[in-house]
Symmetry: C2
Subunit: 118 residues, 2 copies
DNA sequence: GATTGATATTAGCAACAACTAATATGAAGG
DNA sequence: CCTTCATATTAGTTGTTGCTAATATCAATC
């Protein structure tokens, strides 16, 4: 039974679908870090980051371990790290493949839309 | 310059973050299909599917080609296909890794929450 | 060129997700 | 046991996303 439940899959992938969470993952790709350092590195709001960390953890993407008053977060396992690497690889190809054809103004929020046209 | 713009990356990953879109991708993993067949296979609403297809295309994940009155959609390239495969692989590991520990009630909508507890 | 079938687009609404500010918990050290 | 520092939680608001129904476009065939 290698067939994944679609709800689970959606939840997992939703974890990657946010700018702040991607920054967090990027920040964790070379090893575990305490929350406070993540907050500092991505210049975020403590409450906000904490919520995103809970989200990533809930999605199975990262794990946290408490040590004294710090909580250290890290990518769940090597496969997740590999997956993150693959995102970059695929995107690199797709981006050039797509730049001059059709990666335009569909499925974009107004904010995103404005970002595309500059 | 293998460094991907974060907005682009987010947009790309957002493409995978929806149940209907995942079903569409699943349905396309073995080759191109016309819209009407996708609609039939995932038992969806034509307008809705059309919008999701536009989204996936806009995210660079799929491509469409018109032939007569049909529009055939397919995964953009082999890498995207590989990425989809990797989602399943990683999820398979993560799922068992996580089942009995902490993949619970955070970052879940009430609908999702109710799905977890059954 | 009118009709039919395939797909796309629009508008409006309902559900969701992300943000901020305020507050709570919980560990460590005095 | 009180304070401080690190993190989590809650509540409320706002912006975004996804859905449906209606309508538009566009290619093919008669």
């Amino acid at each position: 039974m290698n067939q994944i439940n679609i709800e689970t899959k959606t939840k997992f992938l939703r974890g990657f679908a946010d700018k702040t969470r991607i920054q967090i993952l990027d920040c964790l790709k070379n090893g575990e870090k305490p929350v406070s350092q993540i907050v500092k590195e991505i210049n975020g709001n403590q409450s906000n980051i904490s919520q995103h960390l809970a989200c990533l953890k809930g999605c199975g993407i990262i794990r946290g371990r408490q040590e004294g008053k710090y909580v250290y977060y890290s990518l769940r396992n090597a496969q997740v790290k590999q997956l993150l690497q693959m995102f970059d690889d695929v995107l690199f190809t797709v981006e050039s493949d797509v730049r001059d054809c059709d990666m335009n103004d569909v499925c974009l929020s107004s904010k995103e839309r404005s970002l595309v046209h500059d």
